[in-house]
C-alpha cells in the first residue's frame, strides 16, 4: 500500500500539468463542432455541427490542398534534414579525436540552442532581396534572385531549423551500432561503403525512423518559418490556423483544422512506426 502512495505522489505534479493540457485540447475538440457565424467573436449558443469539417474536406475547396502542401513541404524538408544530418552525426559518433568531436558538438549544440526567431531572421538576411546571397550576386554582376515567398525558402528555413535536432537525435542510434560489427565487416573484405550500407545503416534504422518522425512532427507544426519565409504565398497549416484564430475569429474553423492536423500527424507517426518496426526486427 505504501508503494502505491509513493507512485501517486511522484506522478501527481506531472499529471496535473498534463491534465491541464488535455483539458485545453478538449476545448478545441468541442469548439470544432461549434457553428461559426461570421462577424461574431463569441459564438453563442452552442450548436453542434459537422460543417467545419465538411467545409474542410469539400472537394475542389482550397483547404485540403493546404494540408497536402504542408505534408509535402514538411516531408521534403524532413528528408533533406535527416540525410544532411546523418554524416555529421556519424562523424561525431565515430571520430576518435576528442577535439574534432568537441568542435563539431559545439557548432551543433549552438545551432540547436539558437532561437528560432534568430534563425528565421538570419535566413531572411541571407536570402532576402538585399541579403548576403544577392549582394554577392550583385558584386559578381549577376541578376538577384528572389527567394523569399517561395517554397524553396520555406524548405531551406525548415532544414536550417531542424538540422541540429535531427543530428542530435541521430548521434545516439549511430553510436549504438557496435563498431565491432563494422570492424568485422571490414575484416571480411567489405569496403567502407559496403559496410556502411549493409551494416551501419540498417542497424541504425530504428533510430533514424525515430529522428525522422520527431523532425517531421516539428516541421508540420512549424509556424514562424512559413510565416516569414513564405510571405503569404506558401501556406502551411499552422499559419492558416493562426489566421483563423486571430484574424477572422473563426474559432470553430480553426479548431477543426487543429484537430485535423493533430490526427494526421499522429496517424502518420503511428502508421510509420508500425510499418517500419515490423521490418526492422532483425535476428542478432
Amino acid at each position: 500500500m505504501r508503494k502505491w502512495s509513493v507512485v501517486v505522489l511522484l506522478i501527481l505534479p506531472a499529471v496535473f500539468f498534463m491534465a491541464i493540457f488535455a483539458g485545453a485540447l478538449l476545448t478545441i475538440v468541442v469548439q470544432s463542432f461549434q457553428t461559426y457565424t461570421p462577424g461574431r467573436i463569441v459564438q453563442e449558443p452552442y450548436v453542434f455541427t459537422l460543417e467545419n469539417y465538411r467545409q474542410y474536406f469539400a472537394v475542389g475547396g482550397p483547404y485540403l490542398g493546404f494540408l497536402l502542401d504542408t505534408l509535402r513541404i514538411s516531408a521534403v524538408a524532413t528528408a533533406l534534414s535527416v540525410i544532411l544530418a546523418y554524416p555529421l552525426a556519424y562523424k561525431i559518433s565515430r571520430t576518435a579525436s576528442p577535439k574534432i568531436r568537441k568542435t563539431l558538438l559545439i557548432v551543433l549544440v549552438a545551432s540547436f540552442f539558437t532561437s528560432t526567431m534568430v534563425k528565421v531572421f538570419s535566413i531572411m538576411m541571407f536570402l532576402g532581396d538585399n541579403g548576403v546571397l544577392n549582394s554577392l550576386l550583385k558584386i559578381a554582376g549577376l541578376e538577384p534572385i528572389r527567394f523569399l515567398g517561395s517554397e524553396a525558402a520555406v524548405v531551406i528555413g525548415l532544414i536550417y531549423t531542424l538540422f541540429a535536432l535531427a543530428a542530435l537525435a541521430l548521434i545516439g542510434p549511430i553510436g549504438n551500432v557496435s563498431p565491432t560489427l563494422e570492424d568485422a565487416a571490414l575484416n571480411l573484405g567489405a569496403s567502407r561503403i559496403q559496410t556502411f550500407f549493409k551494416v551501419t545503416l540498417p542497424l541504425s534504422m530504428p533510430g533514424i525512423v525515430a529522428a525522422t518522425l520527431l523532425t517531421y512532427a516539428l516541421a508540420v507544426s512549424s509556424f514562424i518559418i512559413p510565416l516569414f519565409l513564405g510571405r503569404g504565398s506558401v501556406t502551411m497549416m499552422s499559419v492558416i490556423i493562426y489566421r483563423r484564430f486571430s484574424d477572422s475569429f473563426n474559432y470553430p474553423g480553426g479548431s477543426a483544422m487543429s484537430v485535423i492536423v493533430l490526427v494526421t500527424t499522429l496517424s502518420i507517426a503511428y502508421g510509420l512506426t508500425r510499418i517500419l518496426s515490423g521490418g526492422a526486427r532483425r535476428p542478432t
Binding site: V109, Y160, G172, A269
Partner: protein, 285 residues
Amino acid sequence: MTARFFDKTLRDGVAILATNVFIVVSLLFLLVPIAATLIMSFDSREYIGYWPPPGYSTRWYERFWSSPIFISGLVMSLKLACLSSVISVVVGMLIANALVRYDFPGKHALNSVLLSPLVVPGIVTGFSMLGFFSLVGIRETFLRLLIAHVIITIPFAVKSIQATLLGVDRALEEAAMSLGANPLTTFFKVTLPLTKPGIVAGSMFAFAASIDDVAVSIFLIDPFTSTLPVNLFSYMRSEYTPLIAAASGILMVFTVATMLAIEKITGLDRMIGIVNAVPLAPKQK
C-alpha cells in the same frame, strides 16, 4: 585481383573525402547566416541594405536597450524561462523516478502523453490554453504564460532526467540504505548527485525551449505582459531594420551562456550521451 583492391580503396577514399567536405559545408551552412546577422547588427545604416555594411556602429544595440518594450519583454522571458525550467525539472525528477523505478498501469501511455506537447503545433497549444484558462477563470497573464511554458518544457526535462536515471545503479542506493540511510537521505545524497547531468541538461533544454517560444505565447500575452520573441515577432511583421539583428545578437548571448553553463557543469559530451539514451518516438513499442 589487384585492380579490384585499388578500386575499393579508391572508392572508399573518395567517399570519405566527400563526407568530410560535406560535413564542413553543412557546418558553414549553419554558421554563415548567423554570422551575417551578427555583422548586420553593427550596421551603421538606418535600414537593412546590401552586404557588406559600409560602416559600423553600436546604435542598434543602444536602441534595443532604450526600448521599454523590448527590455520588459526580455525580463519577462528570463523570468518565465528560469521559473518554468526549475518547475519542469522538479516535476520531471519526480515522475522520472516513478517511470524508471516503478511499474504501474498506464505507464507507457503516460510516457507518450508526456511527449505530446512536442507534437502539438504551438499555435494550437497556445490557443487551446487560452480557451481553457478563460473557462476555469485563470486571468493572470503571467500565471497563464508560466503554466503554458511548464507544459511545453516538461518533455525535455522528463526525457533528460529519465535517460540519466536509467544509468544510475540501484546498487548504490541499496548500499546507502543498508548502511542506515532512510529513503529521503538516500535520495538527496546519492540519487540526486548522480542524476545531476540529466538535471542540468533537462533544465538547459527547458530554458532554451521557453526562451525560444513564440507560437504558444502569442495567444496568452496581453499588452502589458509580453515575451521578447513575441515582441520581436510583432516588430518583424511591420518593420525590417537592423534592430532585429541587435535583438538576435542579445538572444545569441543567452545561447552561448547556456552552452558555457553546460560545458562547465557536465561537459557537452556527457549531455549528448544523455539526450540519446532514451528513444524519442513516443509511439514505438
